[in-house]
């Protein structure tokens, strides 16, 4: 689920931070810049893991900022293909079920990746899985297991500056999350955890 990414960057420490220890100031600086941000094709950055190297601090002309070149490793949320994760159902539409975790909400399980026999229930706005002997509900807020199938990336950098081919889908662009995950729940063992983890007796009862 999590990986380490090695990055080189320039950190600028403001004079207000001079009373902090240098390593702490650098860490805060990196975290303020990267935590909870998506880097295209890398993933959702969590926080600094460790600092590998830092140059001498140099003060530029005209500002009081101390410039430090650093190399560091970041913890990044980037589940690999076919990884199994847990999440919660946040909502359902005929297109599929949206899943979120506490810190990441752009996961979609499209209707065609649900178990065979799943139908959308218009009255209750939930998907149900109709099997031979029971109708099972994909209730909202249910904790589910999902398998990561695909990722979608949408660079939200201002398009005017880059121009060119990106211009045509401008209207749609706002809707897309910078990093999204397409997942599936069609295999046995995936889907609501309560279906699979529950005690034997209780399963027979219901």
């Amino acid at each position: 689920m999590f990986i380490l990414t090695k990055i080189a960057d320039l950190v600028q420490i403001i004079p207000e931070d001079f009373e902090k220890e240098a390593s702490q100031a650098i860490e805060d600086n990196i975290n303020a810049k990267y935590a909870n941000r998506v880097i295209q094709k890398i993933g959702l950055c969590i926080c600094l893991y460790d600092l590998l190297s830092a140059s001498e601090g140099l003060i530029g002309h005209g500002t009081g900022l101390v410039n430090v070149n650093v190399e560091f490793r970041l913890i990044v949320f980037r589940p690999f293909k076919h990884e199994v994760l847990t999440g919660k159902i946040s909502s359902a539409t005929p297109e599929g079920i949206r899943i979120r975790t506490e810190f990441f909400k752009d996961i979609l399980v499209p209707a065609n990746r649900l178990p065979q026999g799943s139908v959308f229930n218009d009255n209750e706005q939930v998907f149900t899985w109709v099997t031979e002997d029971a109708t099972l509900y994909f209730d909202s807020h249910e904790t589910v297991r999902i398998r990561v199938e695909e990722e979608t990336w949408h660079d939200q950098a201002p398009t005017k500056a880059t121009g060119g081919e990106n211009d045509q889908d401008d209207g749609e662009k706002d809707k897309h999350a910078p990093y999204g995950i397409i997942a599936s729940m069609e295999e046995s063992g995936l889907g609501p955890c309560l279906w699979w983890d529950g005690g034997e007796e209780e399963e027979e009862e219901s």
């Binding site: 999590f2 990986i3 990414t5 909870n36 890398i42 926080c47």
Partner: protein, 187 residues
């Protein structure tokens, strides 16, 4: 910004969890040290400031860290059970225990993160399990190694916790809806 290596290592949830907890403690310690220092100064006529913005982590990090810890501690994650089923030697012990079978790195990581204790759960993690480990005794043995190293979830408590969080969310949603309705009436 320059990416030197897109993926230099893979971490397990436990390692991320430790890092976050340790980070939280570090900030807390720093705050306490500062207050201690100020208290000393106060004796000599200094001012005691209880709150200082430099005690805080950057806001985006604080939010994410709280949410991520909440996620990692939520059942059925093994990090939510107490006592904590992991320690420094857990990963090594699991690797040694699973050596007789041929697992990929990804599978090992998922086993560590998800702690499968039934054949159904193991089946989702291990690709083509039926072909690779057709012998049921083998599957049983694998599960036993996992239970031996990582322990077993308290299923009843877990179910209740999951149900509870579901209910809590539902109630919050209903309250929200009700509030919205009231506002509509007010207008």
């Amino acid at each position: 910004m320059k990416i030197l290596e897109a993926q230099s290592a893979v971490l397990t949830n436990y390692e991320v969890y430790c890092h976050l907890v340790e980070q939280e403690e570090r900030y807390e310690r720093r705050k306490n040290e500062r207050i201690e220092r100020l208290k000393e100064k106060k004796g000599k006529g200094g001012k005691l400031v209880k709150f200082d913005p430099s005690d805080r982590r950057p806001g985006n990090l604080a939010t994410l860290s709280i949410e991520l810890l909440e996620y990692l501690r939520a059942p059925p994650s093994p990090l939510g059970s107490s006592p904590l089923p992991y320690d420094q030697g857990t990963i090594k012990r699991l690797l040694e225990g699973l050596r007789p079978w041929d697992f990929t790195k990804g599978e090992i990581i998922m086993i560590l993160n998800l702690r499968p204790t039934t054949a159904a759960n193991l089946n989702t993690i291990v690709e083509e399990m039926v072909d690779r480990f057709p012998d049921e005794a083998d599957q049983e043995a694998i599960l036993n190694v996992i239970i031996d190293v990582l322990g077993q979830p308290d299923q009843k408590a877990e179910r209740e916790a999951m149900d509870e969080s579901k209910d809590k969310n539902k109630q919050a949603e209903e309250a929200h809806e009700a509030a919205k309705d009231e506002m509509d009436v007010g207008e």
